[in-house]
Structure formats: structure tokens, C-alpha cells
């Protein structure tokens, strides 16, 4: 690994802008508004517009929704023999106790570990970017890459609830219902995914450059 060199040329430092759709690098004036990519016609931005603010807004919404997602009932299961109301965590514990360890671990990672990882990591990345930190940009970029890759797997529980609720409708014998937490949890997944999309990892590297960058 070569050490991080602050003298390396960034596109924006040379007045060049990479199109976010087709990745063509073209020259763009720093001060004019609304220039378009000569190849695909997309509006050019040096950085994702309003990246930090939008990311914060979505992240705070996710934190708020995370509370009902974990406190409310995710799934109601009822049959003649027993009746249960499960939150996300109690569902995992129940799986573990009934001996489905593999599934318990998978559901725990998808529904508990990944959402928490996303919330805390994005908060950390946003604060570090706002403080114009020079601390380990390579590792922070790698963290962002990880978030992008794992976020989708949180949808797992939503699919499980859907399949079970739709299937188990056999009169009084067995009923599965999606609880109110499912909606809150789904919103957390969607919002954190949007937040990750809004975050611009190039902001991690900008403080290492000498010039100031806007837009």
C-alpha cells in the first residue's frame, strides 16, 4: 500500500468533473450552474448536491423510526396451541431457544447488527466529514463501501413476514400477522439505504486537498 499523498491530483482540483451517470470526465467551470455532460446529458455536479444535509435528515429519521421498530410487535403468530407476539429481538431469541441457531444468527445479523452498524457508521462518517478530519481516509472509504454492500440484507425480515403472513391463513388453525413494527422497520431500511446513497465518499478525501470545494 502506498501512503496517502495529499499532492495527488483530484478531478475537481483540475476543474474536471466526472459525470455521475456515464463517468465521462469533462471540463466544467467552477462558478457556472447547471452544466450538462456532453455525452449523456446528465447535470454535472462536482459533489452530490446537499450530500451532508440530506444524509443527516434521513439518518435522524431512521434513528427515530428505529425505536418503534424495536419496541413494537413485528409478527403475531397464533395457532390452537400457542399464541405469540414477537418483536425483532424476541423473535431472534425464540429462534435460538427452539434450536434454529443458524437461522437465529442470520436473522440477528440482518435485522439487528446491520441496521445498527449502518446508523452508527453513517453518524461517524458524517461527523468526520464535517470536522474535515484527516484521519485514515482509506479506512473510512472502506467502511462506506461496506455499508453500501450490506444495507440491502436488512430487508430479510420483511420478506419473511410477508411470506409467512400470506401463507398461513388456514382458518382458525394458524394465523400469522405482520405487526406495526414491520412498517417502521421497513422504513428504517429504506431511509438508511437512501442516506447511504446521499453520502458522497469523495468528501472524505476533500480535506486532504489544498483548495476548497463547493457544490
Amino acid at each position: 500500500m502506498t501512503p496517502v499523498d495529499s499532492g495527488m491530483p483530484s478531478a475537481v482540483g483540475n476543474g474536471l468533473c466526472s459525470c455521475h451517470v456515464c463517468r465521462l470526465v469533462s471540463r466544467r467551470s467552477r462558478f457556472s450552474r447547471h452544466e450538462h455532460c456532453p455525452r449523456c446529458g446528465a447535470t454535472l455536479h462536482f459533489r452530490k448536491p446537499g450530500s451532508v444535509q440530506r444524509c443527516w435528515a434521513l439518518l435522524i429519521a431512521s434513528y427515530i423510526l428505529y425505536i418503534p421498530a424495536n419496541l413494537l410487535v413485528m409478527m403475531e403468530t397464533g395457532s390452537l396451541i400457542n399464541y405469540r407476539k414477537d418483536t425483532i429481538v424476541s423473535g431472534v431469541v425464540h429462534l435460538w431457544k427452539t434450536g434454529s441457531w443458524m437461522i437465529a444468527v442470520i436473522v440477528f445479523i440482518a435485522s439487528v447488527a446491520i441496521p445498527l452498524l449502518k446508523l452508527f457508521s453513517l453518524t461517524f462518517l458524517l461527523i468526520s466529514v464535517q470536522r474535515r478530519s484527516h484521519w485514515r481516509p482509506r479506512q473510512r472509504t472502506r467502511l462506506f463501501r461496506l455499508l453500501e454492500a450490506v444495507g440491502r440484507w436488512s430487508m430479510l425480515d420483511i420478506y419473511v413476514v410477508t411470506l409467512l403472513a400470506a401463507l398461513v391463513q388456514l382458518g382458525s388453525l394458524a394465523v400469522v400477522k405482520a405487526g406495526p413494527a414491520a412498517v417502521a422497520f421497513g422504513a428504517v431500511v429504506v431511509f438508511t439505504m437512501f442516506a447511504t446513497m446521499q453520502f458522497d465518499p469523495r468528501l472524505i478525501w476533500d480535506p486532504l486537498q489544498k483548495e476548497d470545494i463547493h457544490d
Binding site: 496517502v4 468533473c17 469533462s26 456532453p38 446528465a42 437461522i103 481516509p137 400470506a166 421497513g186 476533500d206
Partner: protein, 209 residues
């Protein structure tokens, strides 16, 4: 028109300017500074992606309308299709969840396969695809929202949960979904937006001269 500095690319993740050099087949160019993947040399990208896409498209229909699995409770049998599950949840009034599943497991994969076909088939036949920028942008925009592989895992988890209490019979679409997951992954791995833009540049350049 702005001038085009030839063969320059900027890293998506750290904005470092680098030169676009030809790669050996199967190799990957990664950013010198942050290690992000810049581009890959996907061998024969257009043909292979098209083949995977067309195969996935056919399986997609099967996977959606045939039963994924069914359960049996005291002689009563109840089977489920993906579309049926989405519909049942909508009827039960859990509409947000129903819409989320519809978008991520049906609509987005469908749009993805359609856009890929609309781009790659004309390229293969040797003409410029109509409204190609629209399809390229669509592909890029919806890419994070296609979750067939997550859905596949969801099916497996549900199967295990159900086998505790019911007799579960795997359906035809279960295997189709397994295969579909693999085919979509293969299409994504062989897809190269860079190759498509390069091919389009060549074709448009020829038309002009």
C-alpha cells in the same frame, strides 16, 4: 460542448484522476489512492450479459407465477406465489410492506431485465439503442433496489420456520428463484457500463463521419 480530455477517469469514491489503461481479460483496475474498483475487463461483456439477461427474463416469469412452496395442515393445502403473497398482504391492509416487497422483488428486477435487454439487444444487432441514456440512468438508479438474492434468503428462512410446525412441500418456483438469483448475479458480474459507453461512442462516431 466541453472539451474531452481523452482516457481520463476520476475515482467515484475519492475523485483521484487516473488514466484509463487497457486491461488483460479478467483483471480489475482499482484506485491507486483509495482502492475502489475503477473498472473491470469483463470478457465479451455485451454478449454474455445479454445471454444471462434473456435466460433470467424467462425464469423470472416462472418464478413469479408458480408456487414457491405450499404447506399442508390436516389435509388443507395452501400454496404461495410471490405475486400472491404481495396481493394477500395488500388485502390484509399491510400496504406499505406489500408495496415494498412488490417494488424490490418484482418491479425493480423486471425493470432491470427489461432495460438490459433494451440496451444490449440493439447493440448486439449493430444499431444504436433508442433512448439509451434513459435506460442507462434507469439501471443506475434502480440498481441498489433489486433484491432477488435477499428474497431468496427470506424464502429459505421462512421454510425453516415453517418446517417446525407444518409439512412443507417445495414448489416449482423455489428452484426457479435459486437459478434466477444465480443468473442475475452472473449478469451483474459480466455487465460493464464502461464497455457499453465505449461501444456507443464508437457507433455514434461512425454515424457522424
Amino acid at each position: 460542448m466541453a472539451d474531452r480530455p481523452a482516457q481520463l477517469i476520476a475515482c467515484r469514491e475519492c475523485d483521484l484522476l487516473q488514466r484509463d489503461i487497457p486491461l488483460n481479460p479478467g483483471c480489475t483496475a482499482s484506485c491507486r489512492r483509495c482502492g475502489a474498483v475503477l473498472y473491470r475487463n469483463a470478457t465479451d461483456s455485451i454478449n454474455r450479459t445479454l445471454a444471462y439477461t434473456l435466460a433470467a427474463g424467462m425464469l423470472f416469469l416462472v418464478a413469479n407465477f408458480f408456487p414457491i412452496f405450499s404447506i399442508e395442515v390436516s389435509g388443507d393445502r395452501s400454496a404461495i406465489t410471490l405475486f400472491g403473497a404481495v396481493h394477500a398482504l395488500w388485502e390484509q391492509g399491510v400496504r406499505t410492506i406489500s408495496a415494498m416487497v412488490f417494488i424490490t422483488a418484482i418491479l425493480v428486477p423486471c425493470l432491470e431485465l427489461f432495460s438490459l435487454t433494451a440496451l444490449l439487444l440493439p447493440l448486439k444487432l449493430g444499431f444504436v439503442p433508442p433512448s439509451y441514456t434513459l435506460f442507462m440512468r434507469t439501471l443506475q438508479f434502480i440498481e441498489p433496489w433489486g433484491m432477488v438474492e435477499v428474497f431468496m434468503l427470506g424464502v429459505l428462512v421462512s421454510l425453516v420456520k415453517l418446517t417446525n410446525n407444518f409439512r412443507v412441500i417445495p414448489g416449482f418456483a423455489l428452484y426457479s428463484f435459486g437459478l434466477l438469483t444465480l443468473l442475475i448475479a452472473a449478469a451483474a458480474a459480466s455487465f460493464s457500463a464502461r464497455d457499453i459507453w465505449n461501444r456507443l461512442d464508437e457507433m455514434l462516431g461512425q454515424e457522424e463521419s
